[in-house]
Symmetry: C2
Subunit: 347 residues, 2 copies
DNA sequence: TTGAAAGCGCTAACAC
DNA sequence: GTGTTAGCGCTTTCAA
């Protein structure tokens, strides 16, 4: 069970370390005889290079830039920032520097400006949260032109030029919500699907979730739910929802396609005798408050913190240890209720 | 943003690398003046040692032994083995050798025998799956006496001498199941709690889950479920359950505290008009089959594969990079239905 | 085509 | 007390 090093191989083959290295990396300039001998030896002993040593040699400092919506403007993004910060700490001692940049999630100009700055820095990789689809495509092209690796989280779209994507299957996510809804409301009732602030956000997300949700329910054999979709602005939510709920039995379940589900729960809370079930997204403190008192029945955890952290991890291990980066990593769609949320929130 | 090395510090402080190292590791034999100067400098520039270099120096081969129930005897343990095997592959190139040993989960002698063999090998750490509690306590003492690190997964008990534990909060796990059950069966019905093969397994697990389950339901304000507990052997299951189910409306929900929930689902499937809800544990193929056709309503994922993998990861990063090992790592309690299982099964 | 040698950053033994 | 030095395993340059 001895650990063989290049030196061992060299001695066994009667050549120098340099030659072994040339064989290992197929750098040519090796005689047929030596090639043959070393190759066989390598196979025989199942040589595994010491990745630590290899990495040490490569003393380059790697540089990753992260482009995210500013959490001070939309706190939804705070978990992503937290995930990135964890990664910063973890990889600092490994010679990987990570810089965070924030844009205004309602302002494409700020997005462009930041990417321009980053381009000039020529980092080794950039992680972007592409909430502006069209604009992202453009920016990614520029990064690719300079051979800068581009990673994304959170975006379900096929973006060309992306090296790796970490996220969730959003259609499936809608199906998960639908199955849950099916289980907790009586057959044949009416379900409301609410998209909140669609114009200001990446509406593709909401549409895919809706698609999955409908798709699941429409194919059911023995029940026949009525589905109503509303795309609303926060400002209009109160009036609209109040109107609907004052008409009793009109709605039995509400599926909110975003993390703003607490604002729906807050209104529904005023109708305690209606027993309306609510399913939505993300473990915001506000959402968990309603989850705890059963005003929200289920939350689906998109795990933005882990998405961001994992994405950087993949890049770091690629730089340090040449570990292959999976092109797409789909995280599980966590179902969260009042009893298991803290397993997902605390770390 | 320069990366400072020991050499840099030495030059800045006007001392040698050796002295800096002595300060860093508090090895004494440093004059007050030098100590003061170097210490301040280190703080000033927030020196971070290069962990790769440090690790390379330490060329020792670490050795971890894993003691698990034989998956050929009880396939429940296969995921753990898979997790360990993943870790073996991953850390092979980092100078960490991991050996797997299997005991018969129904034979304490085999457990002792294997631990005896391992003790003689004097590994750096051992990961045991302590399904025999009393016996494990004994064995752990012996490891501790030889300064061998002991890690465990899957066991909720306070075992003294354990360095780290990776697992789940089993009482909370029962509460999760209870909350789910509450949502999917009508109020005030009867719920059956089934422990399968309790004598042959670690019954503590089942008891804790039951405790959490009951605890949740008993404190509900507006409903009043009747709870019945059965501890059964596989062989008796069919007769007992048939008896119960032939008495209509006797049972509305069944909570199975182990992964053998499929064997309950199989029997309940013969009573299609009863609409009995079933909740159980673990993503065995057999369970997923019933989950898919809604015969099982929810499974709780204990994620044995990840438990094992994570545990070894923690040990490896401790050996390689001196990363602190958390004494206890509680994994989230994943709720799984027919729509999100594949996020947890495929990797 | 090949071997020798330097060096990545850190540690520790050894000489002064 | 302190500085020097060798060396961890691998890569790469340079001279032969």
């Amino acid at each position: 069970m001895k650990k063989y090093t290049i030196k061992d191989i060299a001695e066994l083959a009667g050549v120098s370390k340099g030659t072994v290295d040339r064989v290992l990396h197929k750098r040519g300039k090796v005689s047929a005889a030596a090639l043959e001998k070393v190759t066989r030896l390598l196979e025989e002993i199942d040589y595994q290079p010491n990745l630590i040593a290899r990495s040490l040699k490569n003393t380059k400092d790697y540089h990753i830039c992260v482009v995210q919506p500013d959490p001070e403007i939309d706190p939804y993004w705070q978990p992503c920032v937290d995930g990135v910060n964890d990664a910063i700490k973890e990889y600092k001692s490994f010679g990987i520097t990570i810089d965070s940049y924030f844009f205004n999630h309602a302002d494409t100009d700020s997005f462009f400006k930041i990417n321009k700055t980053i381009l000039q820095q020529r980092p080794d990789a950039v992680l972007i949260t592409p909430i502006f689809h069209k604009e992202s495509v453009e920016v990614i092209k520029q990064y690719n032109a300079k051979n800068i690796i581009v990673s994304t989280i959170n975006d379900p779209l096929e973006l060309n030029g992306i090296t790796n994507f970490v996220g969730q299957d959003l259609i499936q996510s809608g199906r998960v919500a639908a199955r849950l809804m099916e289980m907790i409301i009586p057959k044949n009732r009416t379900i409301l699907i609410i998209h909140l602030d669609e114009v200001f956000n990446n509406s593709i997300h909401m549409q895919l979730k809706e698609k999955g949700f409908k798709n699941y329910l429409e194919r059911l054999q023995h029940s026949n739910f009525t589905l109503k979709t509303c795309s609303l602005q926060q400002a209009d939510l109160y009036d609209k929802l109040n109107g609907l709920l004052n008409n009793p039995n009109s709605v039995s379940g509400i599926f909110v396609t975003t993390s703003k589900v607490y604002s729906v729960a807050k209104i529904v809370d005023n109708f305690p005798n209606l027993d309306i079930k609510i399913i939505g997204y993300d473990l915001l403190d506000e959402n968990i408050k309603y989850l705890k008192n059963n005003a929200i029945d289920f939350l689906i955890n998109q795990n933005p913190k882990h998405q961001a952290y994992l994405c950087i991890t993949q890049l770091a291990e690629y730089f340090l240890f040449d570990k292959k980066i999976p092109r797409e990593k789909l995280l599980p769609i966590d179902i969260v209720n009042s009893e298991n949320f803290d397993g997902y929130t605390k770390n």
